[in-house]
C-alpha cells in the first residue's frame, strides 16, 4: 500500500491538489487586495478555479516526474537515451516509463476506466429515461448544486466527453503498443514526449470529473455558447479538461507521424507498411492539426466568461455561429480520429483470420488518407439548422456524401477479402465481423443526415444519437475489443478466455442492435435528444424500457470483458508463440515482448498480407553474423 501511494500517479494527483489550491489561493489573494469578492457558490470564485485548475495540471506534470528530463536538458545535462526500468510488475504501470509498450498499456487501462465511468453515467440517465415522467432525477433532489434534470444534463454531457477522451486514449493505447512493433522500431521517436502525452491526460480526466461536482453544465459535449457562457463554473473545468486532453492527443499524434516517417525497418517502403500503420498516420494527421481548433474555440469561451471578451456574444458584436465553425472544424474530423484506427484494425486482422491476402492494399491505404483529407471539408454539415449562410449548405452536403466513397472502398475490400477465405471465428475475428456489420449500419444511416432536407427533420433527434453510436461502436468499440483480444497474448504471454470472450460478443452485439435501432426508431418519430423527459402520449415508453434493458446488458458484457482482461493477466492460458499464425513481425518472436523489442533487427522482404501464398515471406530477421559481415 505504501508503494502505491508513492507511485508517480499518486504523487501527480497529490501535486495537482496542491497546485489547484496554490492557483486558486493566488487569485483569491489578489482579488482580496483589489477589494473584489473572494468566495462564490463553490467556495472559490470562477477565475480562482480556472487558474487553480491550470496550475493543478502543471503541478501534476512537474510533481510526477514526466518533465524531469526536459528540465535537465534545459540546464545542459544529457540523459541516457533509454532509461533503465526502475520498476517491475504492477509498479511499472503506475510510474513514469519511457517504454512505448508500458505507455500503451497505461493508455489502454485508463481508457477502460474512463469507458466504465462514461458507461456508468449512461446507465444512470438511461434508467431515468426508461419511463416517461421524472423518477429519481426529480426537481426536488439536490446534488452538487444541481437538481435532477440539471444533473441529467451534466451526466449526459459528461458521458459524451468522457467517452470521447476514453476513445482518444484507447486509440493512442493501441497505436502506441502496436505501431513501433509493426515498424520494427525500438520505441517511439520521442519517448519522453510519449510519456508526457499520456500523463497529461490524467489530470485532464480529473478536471472533467471535477466539472460534475462544481455545478455541472447542461450544454451537451459541444459546449455551444451562449448556453456555455452562462453555465455554472463546472463548464470551465470541462473546457480546461478538454483543452488539456487535446494536448495529449496533439503531441501523441505528432510522435506517431515522426515515428512512422523516421523509424521504419530496412526495406519497409510506404506500400509495404502494415495497413494499420497507414490508418495510424491518417488519424494522426487530423489529431495533430485540427485538435488545436477545439482547444481554441473552448479557450475563447473561457476568455469570454473570464474577461468579458465578446467573441460569441451578439450583444457585443460577436457571433455564436463562429464558435460552431471553429468547434466542428475539429469535432467532425475527430470522429475519423476515432474510427480510422478501428478500420485499420479490421483491415489488419481480417487477412489473418481469412487466411487470404488483403484485397486492394493500395486502395485501403489511400482510402484512409482520403477519409482523413475529405474529413477536413465537411464540418458544417452539423450546422444546417444553425442559421449559417444558406449557400454553404449544398457544398457541405456534397463533400459529406463524398466520404462514402473511400469508406465504400474499405467495405469492398473487406468483403473481397472474406470472399472464399478459410474463415475461423476466434474472439478477435468475431469482433472484426461485428465491427463491419455495425459500422455498415452507421455508414448507411449517415447519408440521410448529410442530406439537407432530411437533416432539417432529423437534426437533434435520437436518430442522430443512434447513427453516431453505430459509427463509434463499429469504428472504435468493436475493433478496440478485437485488438485487445488479438494483442493481449503479445503483451502478457497469456490469452484471454475464449468462452468469456464469446459470451461478451454474443451478449453485446444483439443488445447493441436493439439499443441503437430503438434510438433511431424513436428519433424518426420525433424524440428530442439531450432531454430528461418525454410526453407519455408519444408512446415511446415501451421502446425506451427495452433500450434501457439493452443498455444494462451491454454494461454487463463489458464487465465480463473487464473481468476476463484482468483475470487473464495472471491466470490465462499460456500463449507465447504465434497464437494467430500471423505473418506480422511482432508475432515472429516469443511473447511477451522484451523491453527493447526485437533482439535482432528485421528486413522486409515481401508483401505484408500474402496469406496462403506458399513460400512467401514478409520479414526476415537479420542474423548478427550477416550484420558483422556488412561492417
Amino acid at each position: 500500500m505504501k508503494k502505491f501511494f508513492s507511485t508517480a500517479l499518486m504523487r501527480g494527483l497529490f501535486w495537482q491538489l496542491i497546485g489547484t489550491l496554490v492557483g486558486a489561493g493566488l487569485v483569491t489573494g489578489i482579488r482580496a487586495i483589489m477589494g473584489l469578492s473572494t468566495t462564490d457558490t463553490f467556495f472559490f470564485t470562477e477565475p480562482a478555479w480556472v487558474l487553480g485548475a491550470f496550475f493543478g495540471v502543471l503541478f501534476f506534470l512537474a510533481g510526477n516526474g514526466s518533465v524531469t528530463d526536459w528540465f535537465k536538458w534545459a540546464r545542459g545535462i544529457e540523459t541516457p537515451e533509454h532509461h533503465e526500468e526502475h520498476y517491475s510488475g504492477w509498479e511499472k504501470y503506475f510510474n513514469v516509463s519511457l517504454d512505448h509498450k508500458v505507455i500503451g498499456i497505461q493508455y489502454t487501462v485508463t481508457a477502460l476506466l474512463l469507458i466504465s465511468i462514461g458507461g456508468l453515467f449512461a446507465l444512470i440517465f438511461r434508467t431515468e429515461l426508461a419511463e416517461s415522467g421524472l423518477q429519481f432525477l426529480t426537481l426536488d433532489m439536490k446534488l452538487f448544486g444541481q437538481n435532477g434534470p440539471q444533473l441529467y444534463n451534466t451526466l449526459m454531457s459528461l458521458h459524451g466527453m468522457i467517452m470521447i477522451v476514453s476513445i482518444l486514449l484507447g486509440v493512442a493505447g493501441i497505436i502506441n503498443y502496436v505501431v513501433p512493433l509493426l515498424l520494427g522500431a525500438q520505441d517511439m521517436a520521442f519517448p519522453r514526449l510519449n510519456a508526457f502525452s499520456y500523463w497529461i491526460a490524467v489530470p485532464a480526466a480529473v478536471l472533467l470529473l471535477m466539472s460534475l461536482v462544481l455545478g455541472g453544465f447542461g450544454t451537451g459535449w459541444t459546449g455551444y455558447p451562449p448556453l456555455s457562457a452562462r453555465a455554472p463554473v463546472g463548464v470551465q473545468m470541462f473546457f480546461l479538461g478538454v483543452w488539456t486532453a487535446g494536448w495529449s492527443s496533439i503531441l501523441g499524434a505528432l510522435n506517431v507521424i515522426a515515428t512512422v516517417i523516421r523509424m521504419r525497418s530496412k526495406g519497409m517502403t510506404a506500400m509495404r507498411m502494415p495497413i494499420f500503420v497507414w490508418a495510424a498516420v491518417a488519424t494522426s494527421i487530423i489529431a495533430m492539426t485540427a485538435t488545436q481548433l477545439i482547444g481554441l474555440s473552448f479557450q475563447l469561451v473561457m476568455f469570454q466568461r473570464l474577461l468579458g471578451m465578446g467573441f460569441f456574444d451578439p450583444a457585443k458584436g460577436g457571433n455564436p455561429v463562429l464558435f460552431q465553425h471553429l468547434f466542428w472544424f475539429y469535432s467532425h474530423p475527430a470522429v475519423y480520429v476515432f474510427v480510422l484506427p478501428g478500420l485499420g484494425v479490421i483491415s489488419e486482422l481480417l487477412p489473418v483470420f481469412a487466411r487470404k491476402p488483403l484485397f486492394g492494399y493500395r486502395w485501403i491505404a489511400m482510402s484512409s488518407m482520403g477519409i482523413a483529407l475529405v474529413g477536413f471539408l465537411v464540418w458544417a454539415h452539423h450546422m444546417f439548422t444553425s442559421g449559417m449562410n444558406e449557400y454553404l449548405r449544398v457544398p457541405f452536403m456534397y463533400s459529406t456524401l463524398l466520404v462514402a466513397i473511400p469508406t465504400g472502398v474499405k467495405f469492398f475490400s473487406w468483403v473481397a477479402t472474406i470472399w472464399k477465405g478459410k474463415l475461423s471465428f476466434e474472439t478477435p475475428m468475431l469482433f472484426v465481423v461485428g465491427a463491419i456489420v455495425v459500422f455498415l449500419m452507421g455508414g448507411l444511416t449517415g447519408p440521410p443526415n448529410a442530406t439537407i432536407s432530411v437533416d432539417l427533420h432529423l437534426h437533434d433527434t435520437y436518430f442522430i444519437v443512434g447513427h453516431f453510436h453505430d459509427t463509434i461502436f463499429g469504428g472504435f468499440v468493436f475493433p478496440f475489443f478485437a485488438a485487445l483480444y488479438y494483442w493481449f497474448p503479445k503483451a502478457t504471454g497469456r490469452r484471454m478466455n475464449e468462452t468469456l470472450g464469446k459470451i461478451h460478443f454474443w451478449l453485446m452485439t444483439p443488445s447493441f442492435f436493439v439499443l441503437t435501432l430503438g434510438m433511431m426508431d424513436v428519433g424518426l418519430l420525433g424524440m428530442r435528444r439531450r432531454i430528461v423527459d418525454y410526453d407519455p402520449a408519444l408512446g415511446f415508453d415501451n421502446v425506451h424500457l427495452v433500450m434501457t434493458i439493452a443498455g444494462y446488458l451491454i454494461g454487463l458484457s463489458v464487465m465480463i470483458f473487464i473481468y476476463n482482461f484482468f483475470n487473464s493477466i495472471k491466470k490465462g492460458e499460456k500463449a507465447e508463440g504465434n497464437v494467430w499464425n500471423s505473418r506480422s513481425p511482432e508475432w515472429q518472436v516469443p511473447s511477451p515482448m522484451p523491453t527493447h523489442n526485437y533482439d535482432q533487427p528485421f528486413e522486409v522482404v515481401g508483401e505484408p498480407y500474402d496469406y496462403g501464398l506458399p513460400g512467401s515471406k514478409y520479414v526476415e530477421f537479420i542474423v548478427p553474423a550477416a550484420k558483422s559481415k556488412h561492417k
Binding site: G76, L254, T289, A290, L300, K316, G317, H325
Partner: protein
Amino acid sequence: MSHTQDKSSALAQGVVIFVYLALLTALEYFVAVTFDAVSILVVIAVIKLALVMYYYMHIYKLNEGAEGDQHSYEYKTGTMRLGLWLFLLSDAFVFAGLLTTRINLLGLTRPHLNQLLGLGVTSVLLLSSFFMNRGETAMAHGDKKGFMNNTIITFVLGLGFLFGVVLVEWPLAAKEGLVASFGDPANGPMGAVFYMMTGMHAFHVLTGLIFLAVVWNNARKGVYSAEKHWGVEAAAVYWHFVDLVWIIFYPALYLIGKLIG
C-alpha cells in the same frame, strides 16, 4: 552536417534576405496607406513567408539525414527537426483559427491603432530574426562568441517587441476605446479580437525568449559545437516561426480593411 556555404557567404545571404524582407515590409506599408488593396498585401505576405521559411528557417533541411544509421546524431537530429516542424504546423492552426475569428468578426474593417508603433514593433521583430540568423550561422561554424553576442541582441529586440506590444500598444489601444472586457456596438468585438491575437502572439514571443535564454546559457557552458547544436537550431527556427506569425498578423490587424470608429 554538411556545410555547402562558408561562413561569410552564409552571413551575406542573411543580410540580403533581411534587405528583401525590409523592402517588402516598407512596400506593404506603402501599399496599405495608398491603395488599400488586400490582394497585393496577401501576395507580399506570402513572399515574406516563403523567404523566412526557406532562408531563415531552412525548411529544406527536412530532407537531410533521411539515410544512414538510425542511432547517429545526424539521423536523430533529422527526427527532431521533423518533430519541431510538425509542432509548428500544429501551432499554426491556432493562429489560423484566430485569423479566421478576425476575418469572421471584423471583415474588411480594422481597429484604430497607432500605425507608427505597429510598423516600429514589426521592424524590431524582423531585425531580431536577422540577428537570430546570424547567431545560428555563427554556431554552425563553431563561433560560440558570435552566437552568444547575436543571441543577446535578438533577446533584447524580442524583449523590445514584447514591451512595445504589451506595455505601450495595449494601453494606447485601450485609450482608443479597444477594451477587451466590453465592446460597444460602435467598436464591435474589435477589442476582444485585437487583444486575443496580440496576446496569443505575445505569449509565443515570451516562450521564445525563454528558449533563447536557455540555449544562451547552455552555449555559455559549452554544450554546443559546430557539429552538434540542435538546441540552437530549434530555438532559432522557433524564433523565426514567431516572426512568421507576425508577418500575417501585422497586416491583418494594422493594414487591411477600413478604419471604423
